[in-house]
């Protein structure tokens, strides 16, 4: 993960046509940006529509807000796992993998529900990254086209050889109108988790209460789901999570501690 992303001079970004689409899904803004020569084609429109359709489907299966989601119905015993959307079992298995990979710091099993009056199974911290990386498959067939999906601050990008990397600003948790760092990425994920995220707190699963030792953690790496899981686990774990993440192959992290000081793993790009 070290070294400049670009090894040769690239054409001016401004010279390549760019187009964006935005929809609100899962309570989050999801924006897709494409760069390439033929962005007005009906094929492009179909592929973009397929990405958003995938994400809306994931919302119907996994929403913790909807009483009629597969997850909610399964949880109250109204829907056997075998009869649920098959992705529910897939995600549950991934959540268990995530718990093991993070040494227990990511744990979907006992999280406070929206009203905070009970503990429930909540895979939301993994579902978004999983759903976005899965939906991105609809864009991989667009030749000579760069794409960037941003789902509520978690980013997955791709730029083919000959096109410039995407410049990803990392939000300052103390002032969301500013960026702390900018990194250039030609592929892969940039995921950020904060101590206060969407109005809810990230729970320290060992202490059973909101984690407060860090303000935000950003993780870069090849896979959006794992980058997001690691970022969430690192917020729960606190500043010492950097030592753990430094040993995770392919992923690097930037951490803003409670006082606003910025720390990163040795291989952090830029």
């Amino acid at each position: 993960m070290t070294g400049p992303i670009m090894s040769t001079r690239m054409p001016e970004t401004a010279a390549i046509p760019r187009r964006a689409w935005v929809e609100q899904i899962m309570g989050l803004p999801v924006s897709i940006h494409l760069r390439g020569a033929a962005l007005g084609s009906s094929r492009v429109e179909r592929q973009i529509a397929a990405v958003f359709a995938d994400l809306r489907h994931a919302d119907r299966v996994f929403s913790t807000y909807r009483e009629d989601s597969d997850l909610s119905r399964w949880e109250r015993g109204a829907l056997p796992l075998a009869d649920a959307d098959p992705t529910l079992a897939v995600v549950m298995e991934l959540c268990e993998q995530a718990r093991l990979r993070t040494e227990g710091w990511f744990d979907a099993r006992r999280l406070p529900d929206r009203r905070g009056d009970r503990l429930r199974y909540d895979p939301s911290g993994l579902v978004k990254g999983w759903a976005v990386k899965r939906a991105a498959r609809h864009l991989t067939g667009l030749v000579e086209t760069s794409w960037c999906i941003n789902a509520g601050g978690d980013v997955l990008v791709y730029a083919p050889a000959g096109q410039p990397p995407w410049r990803v600003g990392i939000e300052d948790p103390a002032n969301p109108a500013r960026v702390l760092r900018i990194i250039a990425r030609a592929g892969g994920a940039v995921a950020t988790s904060g101590a206060t995220h969407r109005g809810a707190h990230i729970i320290d699963p060992y202490a059973g209460r909101a984690a407060t030792a860090v303000r935000a953690v950003t993780v870069v790496g090849p896979d959006l789901m794992w980058a997001d899981v690691y970022a969430t686990a690192a917020v729960a774990r606190g500043p010492q999570a950097l030592t753990w993440l430094a040993d995770v192959d392919g992923y690097e992290a930037l951490l803003v501690d409670r006082l606003g000081a910025v720390h990163s793993t040795p291989g952090w790009p830029g």
Binding site: T2, G3, P4, I5, M6, S7, T8, R9, M10, T13, R18, R19, A20, W21, V22, Q24, G27, L28, P29, S31, H33, C148, N150, G152, G153, D154, V155, V157, P164, P165, W166, R167, V168, G169, I170, E171, P173, P176, A177, R178, V179, L180, R181, I182, I183, A184, V190, A191, T192, S193, G194, T196, H197, R198, G199, A216, T218, V262, P269, G270
Partner: protein, 159 residues
């Protein structure tokens, strides 16, 4: 590279000013009267792209045709000690600022450095923030979307 050279010059001057400010308010009774800016020899981009984005890495001696890489300014001697600034460039944008050499004669210097560096880095990134393509952050929700930086970026490209 001319812009970057100029930028390095102004950065070193700004850094020296920051050191100067803190030193003078510490009441250590500096007696030299030479203006701060005058204490700054002309910095120059001495390294080419180094092929390494590690702060403080040394230029590899290649020419600057590509523009990407880490550049280091000359070591500038000030009345408080030597200062060197390095910048990392990708796609002709500065992506990081580091000060591998700075005065460390007393414990306050360490403190000043930790104060000045984030200011420099922020100023650099602010100046270029119009050029970012997307924003990664924990606070972007549908409710707050319309006031977000991401919304501004999206708006510029919606068709």
């Amino acid at each position: 590279m001319r812009r970057i050279t100029l930028w390095l010059l102004s950065t070193v001057a700004a850094l020296v000013l920051l050191f100067s400010y803190h030193t003078s308010t510490m009441g250590t009774g500096g007696t030299e009267s030479s203006p701060v800016a005058g204490a700054v020899p002309r910095p120059a981009v001495t390294g080419g792209p180094s092929g390494d984005d590690g702060a403080g890495s040394v230029g590899g001696g290649t020419t600057g045709q590509q523009g990407n890489g880490t550049y280091r300014g000359s070591v500038v001697r000030t009345r408080w000690g030597p200062i060197q600034v390095t910048i990392t460039v990708a796609s002709r944008k500065i992506t990081n600022v580091a000060v591998p050499i700075y005065p460390n004669g007393n414990p306050r210097d360490e403190e000043i450095n930790s104060y000045a560096l984030p200011i420099l880095r922020q100023a650099t990134l602010d100046a270029q923030s119009a050029d970012i393509d997307t924003v990664s952050g924990a606070t972007v929700t549908s409710d707050g979307y319309h006031e977000s930086l991401q919304a501004a970026i999206d708006a510029a490209h919606l068709s």
